[in-house]
Symmetry: C2
Subunit: 349 residues, 2 copies
């Protein structure tokens, strides 16, 4: 597997990204191509031993975090993210990983890879830790104004992803709403509920926000506005809880001693909920694989994103999506044929 | 102040609700009227000393948690929640508190109180603890499909509430979106952003989900679908974090000892984030005051809800809303007049 890493994306600079790439190639048999400022990348590589499985493709431009996505992709043709997707288009690499401007990464994927057949809205899937296993939420920010058909496709793509990455044969799909009964939710959710109900997917109905972390559902479907708000509310709350807890503990000497003793437990807990474990959010619905990482990604997150990207390609997530879509269409066709025949029979009477 | 408490709502039964009412009248000079099954309420009251400030209005029907809101209000005319709002309509009480079916509580408020002049969509405001002070989010579940004008009014109502309850003169209002720049968000948010920008309110622009818990904004505006999802994601995550932390701590003896020592700090932390501190979500935009409590509310939550309900009436939150609306209309009128005069001047030239 050969992964392209946008070495200019992210808030921490190339050193952290390069360190992640080095860790990934040392732990696997993947190759990584680093794209970006040759000087900066070479300097970062000097901290590590020389590896044949790390390559550099120099680029001269950088898409900044607040650049307009489509505009920057058009203007900055020699930026690390644009060249990375161009390499993927030419099949010189197998997948792209970027911790840069996520809108621009989406835009580059649309331009160079194009949509998978049968998918109208590709998107971003988020992976959350829960009390049991991980849960996949889609979309988490790529599509803010959606129609029912788009949400339905998010369910198909996220289910295929869940099967491929976590080995779940028929992932339980839940539709994020504000009540568990099918009649509850906004207009978009009510119409999407009908689409899922008619499908052969393992749809368990509406789920509520609190179900996100219990682990009783494998896939949670929502529009990108709601998904992104959830993602950021979760991040903000987790940070606030730990900060308030630290604050209370620091107020008493006894509690401080207690914290010292329980420190390993806190560390294990942090590891358990660490966003770095899965590296980032996979781009789903494109002719090609990619992972969008958090801007703050550390080396571990980048390493894991590279591994997940390779898994997506090795296990052919896109073929899984195509099979699921084909099954759904077949069922719909049979259904339509059945109805036509019933109508004919009714006519004969 | 005289508050009506729906003694049949909530998951914990009348004992807990009655205990909350007793605590409230003991700590304040308020009176409370308990509505519900006379036998059950009298039995619950026997655990407390006799108080002249607690009254009973017997009712024979109960709206269940999964009853259809408007249907149950129409059919169950002698239910505790319906009679409570009828008493408020007749001004025999000053406000209503209910931990029952929140949809039915909204429906009863619409039927008996009606909307405040100038408000098209009354709603529910949620109160969140943050690293600094509390933040008010509106709407948190009453209105799932909204137009920009509705969101704008949520901002007006929540700002008036924030002023009244927390003494903030010009609450900072943020619009919940998925990026801080004004151009980011879905269609609804972009259009709402324009309305706020033109208003005299203290609008600070878009805020993201993570800003909910930092305390840098006083009011967060969103539609009821997004707000309710946020509320439940937050509840679910807070529970999951504490549960995972307990789980890690229980794995080692040393950590258990540590936890024992830090226990008070954990308790203080829990108190700090406890939903019970503000009792529940105020109903805003009606000709009358009400608080919708969590179904799981304990006596403390009920006590605090009764106190907050009394504050809303005492400080006349509805008058504050009317004043804010009048200021906005005046500004719009001046703006329009100014434009007309400019047009005339242009014509004279």
């Amino acid at each position: 597997m050969h992964i392209a890493l946008d070495a200019m994306g992210g808030d921490r600079g190339p050193d952290e990204l390069v360190a992640g790439a080095v860790q990934a190639v040392l732990e696997t048999d993947h190759e990584v191509t680093l794209l970006g400022d040759k000087e900066l990348i070479s300097r970062a590589l000097r901290h590590h031993r020389k590896l044949d499985t790390i390559h550099i493709v120099p680029t001269t431009q950088v898409v900044l975090m607040d650049d307009s996505p489509f505009d920057s992709i058009r203007r900055k043709k020699d930026s690390s993210v644009v060249v990375a997707f161009d390499l993927l288009k030419q099949r010189k690499v197998d997948a792209v990983v970027s911790a840069g401007n996520s809108g621009a990464t989406m835009a580059a994927a649309i331009k160079f890879l194009g949509r998978l057949s049968g998918i109208t809205r590709p998107g971003l899937a988020g992976i959350y830790p829960t009390l049991k296993g991980p849960v996949v939420m889609m979309d988490v920010g790529a599509n803010v104004d959606c129609r029912p058909q788009h949400l339905f496709q998010f369910g198909v793509m996220a289910a295929a992803f869940s099967s491929v990455l976590f080995g779940i044969e028929r992932p339980r799909i839940g539709l994020l709403s504000i009540g568990e009964e099918g009649g509850k939710g906004n207009t978009l959710v009510k119409k999407t509920h009908e689409l899922f109900q008619k499908s052969p997917l393992n749809y368990i109905g509406n789920v509520e926000g609190r179900d996100t972390f219990t682990g009783d559902v494998d896939v949670i479907v929502c529009d990108g506005f709601v998904g992104n708000v959830c993602l950021k509310v979760s991040e903000g709350l987790a940070e606030a809880i730990l900060s308030m807890l630290r604050d209370e503990i620091s107020k008493s000497f006894k509690a401080k001693i207690g914290y010292m003793l329980a420190k390993d437990a806190f560390a294990d807990f942090k590891k358990r909920v660490d966003y770095a474990e899965y590296g980032g959010a996979p781009l789903l619905g494109f002719n090609g694989a990619g992972i969008v990482c958090h801007g703050r990604s550390n080396a571990t997150a980048i390493k894991n994103a590279i591994k997940v990207a390779a898994e997506l390609v090795r296990n052919n997530v896109n073929e899984h999506i195509a099979i699921l879509l084909a099954n759904i269409h077949e069922l719909n066709d049979n259904d339509r044929q059945h109805k036509t025949e019933s109508a004919k029979t009714a006519g004969v009477r």
